[in-house]
Symmetry: C2
Subunit: 512 residues, 2 copies
Amino acid sequence: MNGAESLVHTLLGCGVEVCFANPGTSEMHFVAALDRIPGMKCVLGLQENVVTGMADGYWRMMEKPAATLLHCGPGLANGLANLHNARRARSGIVNCVGDQATYHRIFDAPLTADTEGLARTVSQWVRTSTKAKDVGADAAAAVQAAMTSPGQVATMVLPSDTCWDEGGVVAAPLPVPAVPQADPHAIRNVARILREKKNVLILLGGKALREGAQAYAWRASQATGAKLMAEGSNGRTQRGQGRLPLERVPYPADVAINALKWVEHLVLVNAKAPVGFFAYPGKPSKHYPESAQVHVLTRYEHDAEAALRALCEELNAPAVPMPDVGVRPERARGAPSPEGLAQTVAALMPENAIIADESVSYGRGFFPQTVAAPKHDWLQITGGAIGCGLPLATGAAVGGGGRRVINLQADGSAMYTVQALWTQAREKLPVTTVILSNRKYQILLGEYQNVGANPGRTAMDMLDLGNPDIGWVKMAEGMGVEAAQASTLDQVGDLMAQSFSRPGPFLIELLV
Amino acid sequence: MNGAESLVHTLLGCGVEVCFANPGTSEMHFVAALDRIPGMKCVLGLQENVVTGMADGYWRMMEKPAATLLHCGPGLANGLANLHNARRARSGIVNCVGDQATYHRIFDAPLTADTEGLARTVSQWVRTSTKAKDVGADAAAAVQAAMTSPGQVATMVLPSDTCWDEGGVVAAPLPVPAVPQADPHAIRNVARILREKKNVLILLGGKALREGAQAYAWRASQATGAKLMAEGSNGRTQRGQGRLPLERVPYPADVAINALKWVEHLVLVNAKAPVGFFAYPGKPSKHYPESAQVHVLTRYEHDAEAALRALCEELNAPAVPMPDVGVRPERARGAPSPEGLAQTVAALMPENAIIADESVSYGRGFFPQTVAAPKHDWLQITGGAIGCGLPLATGAAVGGGGRRVINLQADGSAMYTVQALWTQAREKLPVTTVILSNRKYQILLGEYQNVGANPGRTAMDMLDLGNPDIGWVKMAEGMGVEAAQASTLDQVGDLMAQSFSRPGPFLIELLV
């Protein structure tokens, strides 16, 4: 057995069932092993940031890692931005990066790069295998690292001789460390704060945004008067009927600071204390009051639902029904608006839809209009590295078991990883992409005006996406995805409804 | 004056005239400064690997650095693969990477990343400015580094407060170190080898492939019987009438080893001794005989033309006319073949065309058929990180002063950075793209078969680009570039001729 075969057997034995791939020459033995050994579904992406973003989306839905197959340092480099987002989403991924043979590295052939150095910038775990006999054990350790709560990016660097040499040894799965439990002192302390103090905000992030944890958070809140909010960017939020209509910490600095100015006690549940996405001259980095006290109920790796349940017990908080989120809205009509689009999505989405949201500036108002939609999962861009939405939607569809994915997608960001459409077509994935075609980097125009000026010609050359306008219907059709343009909410609603009733991907360019 | 303004003034004062850009929030003060201070041409790319690849193409034609404007660590990450290629081409580039404000970094906001760590993987020079007053001086040092022979990737990391704070100081250009001259002992030694030894190969790379250096290399070769070759991948080779019909070291290991097996003395001129692009089981890493002696005439940073001139003087090599490269070929007709396409390109290309070649496997035979074309520059992918061709063509057109650029482009590689077409349309650049649409990763199919197997279904899922076929005409039109499909050499020739006679970009999908 060669190293590559030991790798495939070990990954399969550890429960890794999907490999998102863009291979190159140094990975041919791995490709050959995947071909010979049945069991791994291989999904090709035509650029590596598509590959890594798909693995992120897959984890978010499946909570088990996919493998990625990447080609040397530059192939990894192409996928780093979505690994950055995955790291911020705390997704587990096993990257398999082929590289120069151990003995060939000293010759500095053209594709030779600092692969480990690149990997370290986004990975919690990095290892370069040096012998075929180690590849299996290294793979088992990588899967263990990826699955360690809350989920980690693990990167194996695989010199090609470690794959083609004989002597591979299949490794058994390593035990995944149990999800750690919150410190009982922290639970008692938070219970005391909730009982004794006013103006308490419980900030939920990570797995505290799943249905089970939400119910306990709501109970604690109802028993004590503490307010609940979600972090600004979250990997996966369970929403809709039966879930909490949580507000998120707003993105714009002034709005966030204003929204949090009342807070005297901030309780963190798988969350961090809110800070600015960026700094701005004369504005504070922290968006919560300097005088507020911060209390950590659970860190990212802790079991949020168990901690919130224990908190309810400590508080003797009675069971309460979840809040009434109201009646599902009707479709909106007429000219596009963020609220109208959100309302239309809420009116039409199938039960258990997955929303992949990279709507950037246009989508800041999507949340209130969708609280009364059917149950759904809402996936956000977590690390601010744009180009996340299309791959995330694609990977979520691979891991979604047939659930419809609705990708609400800004146009500028969509262009970063537009190649994902091709994978959607090839895999016939149930993804409806709605391109919010405003033909500019709207968020940057806003930021530019914050700098205190109206953009002149040179600035507009860098902020405007018109001249020429991107023809999204042609782009999608060029990659095998059916598409149509809409300029009203009526049209986008009709096209959405139509796409939900048919298998496979569809793209709607909404002129906004 | 704020730091951003000092940056723009300093870059302009140092002769940097073009900024390839994809800005974000942390760069808005830089964008505002570019808007207020006239003189910098700003060219937007819709993904950062387009941005950095354009800067590479610009340097190769202009031999002066462009700036790039990139957004935080992930924005830099997206552009690393083409910076890797630029580093291998020894191109000078000044990257300006905006980042979190110095005091905001500790809060680990979502976009915070190891920007310096990412930069170091591809840059010969990296500096993070920490105060507005230093930005000008840091920029002058960056330009100096970029222009230091043979050309270097210099990366400035610019925390946003260093851009918006007042106190910026414009720095004067720093002296660029003179191009170092070859060691006189090396020249005498190589002269002795050429006079006394048989089976000598003079291997030319870098600027030894410019017309002036070629003439001296030819003279030395004619006087001594030494053979001349070019390295396998070169940043810019001057070719066509009046230039040498140089063969390159072949890419496939067996072919290269066979082509070099006669060599007893290897003389390197801005080149390195040939090694495999990759290692293969049982094949040597070095592609020249172990017994061959290696002699360095010039290192990468040395003045190759001066060294070859001095070599001719040392040899008393008489002036000789350049070799007759023959008659310009006629257009080929009928079914597409690599040779027929190359012949057609040679027959039709305008004088002083620029060929941006990322033809990968299909293009290995392009060189012999194009030696008798009019004078032209041939730019290759130098670092093996695919996705180089479209951006390189675009940047070369920006720096080419109206010269026609012909991008001979593999389809799989084209998909990596397809967004470059939009920039070609916006800037109305004279680029003719010929997509070699074979609908597979042909080079990998070959490599796979070297591994010893015929690909099964799983392997083909990762090597085949069909299912669905990419519609290149629609893709191009979606980005504002006129396009047409060709399935014969007659058609591709007609379309090429038509595109050469009109301004602006055009794309031809050639079904091969």
